[in-house]
């Protein structure tokens, strides 16, 4: 199980500089979604005239469901410079995978709770670290896509785009780099040095 918390308003507003399409996921009933805070943020963004559309749905981790809903809102998404996803890390990564040319941002941090995990079997995975890195990595989680869970870029162990630990696994940072390149966000690699915070658990 997991809990999602809204990132700080400053950090979200710093990402939403142009037009934005918002996706809220009210999936998994066991998940605590910060509904009231998300609504408040949404109101503020709507008032600023930046929002091209809002989709509030459930289980965006279900590819069929996601595809259906996003295709219906194709125009609104095309008008937006970025898509802001308020969901767990799996949801953000599912949207990023579906919109390969779009900037996709995570509005939430995902924390771990004991108990069973998500029900949709997927390639993408969320480590529920409580300090979501997806906004720096183009919507691909470095903790689960990189065998060393590195947060500061590619190591020297990638060969022909594959990870040297597992030749069947794509190098996560190769994927992240290509993605950032495709959405024009290579500047994210110039962010300050990232340090993991393993103390997030105690805050839940």
């Amino acid at each position: 199980m997991l809990i999602t918390e809204l990132k700080s308003k400053e950090s979200i507003l710093s990402l939403v500089t142009g037009k934005v399409f918002i996706i809220n996921c009210h999936g998994c009933k066991e998940v605590r979604f910060p509904e009231a805070e998300a609504e408040e943020l949404e109101k503020e963004l709507l008032a600023s005239g930046k929002v091209t559309g809002v989709l509030t749905t459930d289980y965006i981790c279900n590819p069929e469901n996601l595809k259906l809903r996003l295709e219906r809102r194709k125009t609104m998404i095309a008008e937006a410079d970025a898509v802001l996803v308020l969901s767990c890390g799996v949801g953000v990564q599912s949207v990023a995978e579906f919109l390969p040319d779009k900037k996709v941002y995570a509005g939430c941090d995902t924390y771990r709770l004991p108990g069973f995990q998500g029900v949709t079997p997927l390639e993408v995975n969320c480590d529920q670290c409580g300090e979501c890195f997806l906004n720096l990595t183009g919507g691909i989680c470095p903790l689960t896509a990189c065998s060393k869970s590195l947060v500061n870029g590619q190591c020297g162990g990638s060969k022909n785009g594959k990870c040297e630990v597992d030749p069947n696994m794509e190098c996560g940072w190769e994927r992240i780099y290509r993605r950032l390149e495709a959405v024009g966000r290579l500047d994210a690699l110039k962010c300050p040095v990232q340090l993991r915070n393993y103390a997030t658990d105690k805050d839940v």
Binding site: S147, K148, S149, L150, V151, N152, G153, Q154, C155, G156, G157, S158, K159, N160, G161, E164, V165, C171, W173, E174, Y177, E181, L186, L189, K190, V193, Q194, L195, R196, Y198
Partner: protein
Amino acid sequence: MKISELFDRGEFVVTAEVGPPKGFHLEGVIEEAKTYLSGITAVNVTDNQSSVMRMGSLATCKLLKDAGLTPIYQLTCRDRNRIALESDLLSAAAFGIENILCLTGDHTKLGDHPGAKPVFDLDSVSLLHTVRLLESGKDLGGNDLVGEPPKFAAGAVVSPCSDSVDAQLAKMERKVMAGADYFQTQAVFEPDKFIEFMEKAKQFGKPVQLGVIIPKGAAMARYMNNNVAGVHVPDDMLAELAADKERAKAGITGVEIAARVIKACRPYCQGVHIMALGWEKHIPALLEQAGI
């Protein structure tokens, strides 16, 4: 002596490396280093290289230093969390070790303890950041150090012939931002690729040492091509190594190839780093043929 001072003076810096043994008797390593590496500026000491458990890098550095050599202490982030790494950096300073090389480290699954926990609490970038922080008198927990802070020449690595060289350059830039003083590269067999890489890397203004391996034969070269990330031995060199097995086995062909690579790359870099992998005895001949 910090090797960054030599770079600052415009010297062409030659380093080599030794791997500690799987045991605690270091006499052989020291004897070999004294015999073949005495003309070399500094000697890297690997840190459980390839995730294979060996005697510690720090203790080996100390013993090499006592024997009159200048060690470069390699630290990887695979086996220790940030507390242990900071602590070992202070220990190195206490031993008078002034040169370090910060690496992420190979994954544990590639070594001889595949079931071990891979730590990676820090990585090469955050380790460099940590070194510079300690030098300012603070630790990563935000606490003040007592007394004089340590001071290191802190190096890092980069892979110029990687098939994702743009991602490597981006990582190199992060290492520069985090405070890297100099770079040593993965082994180069393709001077054209290295020169192209240096054209882009020179914007960072940091000295780069060309990484060199003396190829021991066609089989070893093919093994590296298939298994070692960032290393590619081109077909013509493979053919050269395969042409005369005895010559290759005696090290003559390998030394010729390595010397050629050094000569072609020398105008574009600030030093060489030789990874002899047990062939330390060929280093003097290599340096002579390369005109260093």
